[in-house]
């Protein structure tokens, strides 16, 4: 291998070496960090919310006029929805996973706490909540009808019983069962006893409380109350498998017909809520993929351009090498090795830049540490890209005839 003389010759063309080396280094840094961000987003988008998404939809009601009574409306609407053919169950609810709107609170283990132990999203549901969402109960029980109350704007006290998710239970009571334990949704109020643990229920906000780790997006609490603020009511309906779209239309028509003192808000499937909820992440993923592809293409073209220029510039030199005994293979190897040296130098700098960028993202955007496998993958990809990019010009160089050495121009 001619690495030493190649390196020595390259050191005399520092500008080209620095420019292409920097390009490779920057590409490595951006590609590795972008791939890591993409993989995290893809992982996030692929997470299960813990509810039945295929057969569920939400529908809302906004009352108007002096005669409209929200409590009556909620009771009538939910009874109407449950009575529709094809409906498996329905519940009033204030929100759904991934809807990006809802109610949260800090949960305390003692009344004296200044800082809460964990944040939690609040799902206000009735005794049908668990079944309507299609969530799974892991321990204990869900609410009974006699535990359900209305939460009005003036309500201060919280119900004596709550159901929480396993993720929240593990956070509040690590290595022990949360069942029967008491917590405080409000340190100035009465304690709330945990009567059940639900396997999984995603919070409404995507990327919520990222500093508490990925599990925080499953810190949810079910509260046995129907929210009776203002004139708005929201319901979650689960249908029999495969009947969602049909039931959705029937539900809208039935609700419109049942009460003329309100507007029925457009029904939305949970699948649509998911798609809209992750829209930003999907867009970011597509943009980052575009950035990666563009950067790799620009880097490859840069290498092709530089190598082509050097082949043209060194035609006489190549002819001389051929005249001095270099075979075509020797010339091909020379240019491939030269590219290997340049790419290696760029990648060495790129490793520092990659972790520098990762550190900056960690410090400013709560990113996680870049796993080594992304760096290793990036290095392999760029090395192969460099070799592939230089192969064409190197092949052209190997075809320079040795007789060029004796030409005067």
């Amino acid at each position: 291998m001619e690495i030493r003389p190649i390196l020595s010759a390259l050191m005399r063309s520092k500008v080209a070496l620095v420019l292409i080396g920097l390009q490779i280094a920057l590409t490595l840094a951006i590609v590795c960090n972008s791939l890591f961000i993409i993989s995290q987003r893809v992982q996030m988008m692929g997470r299960e919310s813990g509810i039945n998404e295929a057969d569920t939809f939400t529908i809302g009601s906004l009352g108007f006029g002096a005669a409209f009574d929200i409590k009556t409306s909620i009771q009538e609407d939910v009874a109407l929805l449950r009575s529709l053919p094809g409906v498996a169950d329905a519940t009033p609810t204030n929100t759904t996973p991934m809807s990006n709107g809802g109610w949260s609170t800090g949960i305390n283990l003692t009344r004296e706490q200044k800082t809460s132990t964990a944040p939690s999203a609040m799902y206000f549901v009735d005794e049908h909540g668990l079944n309507a969402f299609g969530a799974k109960l892991a321990e204990g029980r869900f609410f009974t009808a006699d535990e359900i109350t209305f939460r009005e704007r003036s309500s201060v006290d919280w119900p004596p019983v709550i159901v929480i998710t396993r993720a929240l239970a593990n956070k509040l009571f690590p290595d022990q069962s949360a069942l029967g334990k008491q917590v405080y949704l409000d340190t100035e109020g009465n304690p709330n006893t945990i009567i059940g643990v639900v396997e999984r229920m995603q919070v409404p906000w995507i990327g919520w409380s990222a500093e508490d780790g990925p599990d925080a997006e499953f810190y949810s609490t079910f509260v046995p109350q129907n929210v009776a603020f203002g004139n708005f009511g929201r319901y979650l309906v689960r249908t029999e498998p495969g009947r969602r779209d049909e039931v959705m239309k029937a539900a809208e028509a039935a609700m419109l017909k049942s009460n003329h003192s309100r507007i029925v808000r457009e029904p939305r499937t949970i699948e649509r809520i998911r798609a809209e909820g992750y829209q930003g992440h999907r867009a970011m993923t597509i943009i980052l993929i575009g950035v990666i592809v563009s950067l790799l293409a620009v880097t490859a073209l840069g290498i092709v351009g530089m190598a082509s220029f050097w082949v043209t510039q060194r035609t006489k030199q190549i002819g001389t090498r051929r005249a001095l005994g270099a075979t075509r293979g020797s010339i091909l190897r020379y240019f491939m090795t030269e590219n290997f040296v340049i790419t290696s130098l760029g990648l060495a700098l790129g490793v520092l830049l990659t972790y520098g960028l990762n550190y900056w993202l960690m410090a400013n955007y709560a990113a996680q540490r870049l796993p080594l496998v992304y760096l290793a993958g990036g290095i392999v990809v760029l090395m192969l890209l460099g070799q592939a990019a230089v192969f064409g010009p190197a092949t052209r160089a190997s075809r320079v005839p040795p007789a060029v050495a004796t030409r005067s121009v």
Binding site: P5, S8, A9, R321, R322, L324, G325, R328, S330, P401
Partner: protein
């Protein structure tokens, strides 16, 4: 050392055929110093390119050091060239980004010598041309005469049997040209066969024998040579 019989070289395009060499025959014996002369476009460089295995020929027969080169592929010609032939070019053809040591090292690396052997050969041959102290210098830091000396060291480093020189003093002033020529004569006296292409009659007169080429054919040559007479008498035969 070098023998061509009825050799021809035709350059073809889709419009015309150009006969650069026709019925070209020459026999250069080991130890000779032959000057090939002729006007521009006469075929001197084509002869040199074919003699140095830099180009293929169209017809005829050709041997280098007893090896029949007909039918050799590109790699075989490259290896034979590397092993048996040294080149000196009019424009020196040193690689500007390599220092003198690495320039002389170029053909040795292709030969596959060990690092220690290469180092010994480089130092020995740069010393032979009087540039041992400037091994770390770059070609641009040398005069034209010194650059040609480096090129000679590079040509000799692999111990070739045949040295081909293409107008070796063409880019030098008379003082430097004399120095380079004296060096070539000394190399020849030590046993290396030299074929030098030149259009300079004074230079040609210093060779043992002259071969004159016009329109791709040998038109004139010196009488049957006597082997290696230091005074410059001819030692080659044109067959």
């Amino acid at each position: 050392m070098l023998k061509m019989k009825h050799l021809s070289k035709v350059y073809r395009t889709h419009l015309i055929e150009t006969h650069a060499l026709r019925d070209f025959s020459i026999h250069v014996r080991e130890g000779e110093f032959v000057a090939v002369t002729g006007p521009s476009g006469s075929g001197k460089t084509t002869f040199l390119n074919i003699a140095g295995l830099l180009e293929e020929f169209s017809g005829g027969e050709f041997w280098v050091d007893g090896v029949d080169v007909r039918g050799m592929n590109d790699d075989q010609r490259s290896r034979l060239r590397n092993e048996k032939i040294g080149f000196i070019f009019q424009g020196f053809n040193l690689i500007p980004d390599l220092n003198l040591f690495d320039n002389v090292d170029v053909p040795l690396r292709y030969r596959g010598f060990s690092a220690a052997d290469r180092k010994r050969r480089i130092e020995e041959n740069l010393g032979r041309v009087g540039l041992a102290s400037r091994m770390k210098h770059y070609p641009a830091e040398l005069s034209g005469g010194q650059q040609q000396r480096v090129a000679i060291a590079r040509a000799l480093a692999g111990s070739p049997r045949l040295l081909l020189a293409d107008e070796p003093t063409g880019n030098l002033d008379s003082l430097m040209a004399r120095g380079v020529l004296e060096l070539l004569e000394e190399i020849n006296r030590q046993g290396t066969t030299i074929i030098m292409v030149t259009h300079d009659p004074e230079l040609a007169a210093r060779a043992h024998r002259n071969v004159h080429v016009i329109d791709g054919q040998v038109t004139d040559f010196d009488a049957e040579p006597q082997l290696r007479v230091p005074s410059g008498n001819a030692t080659a035969a044109v067959a």
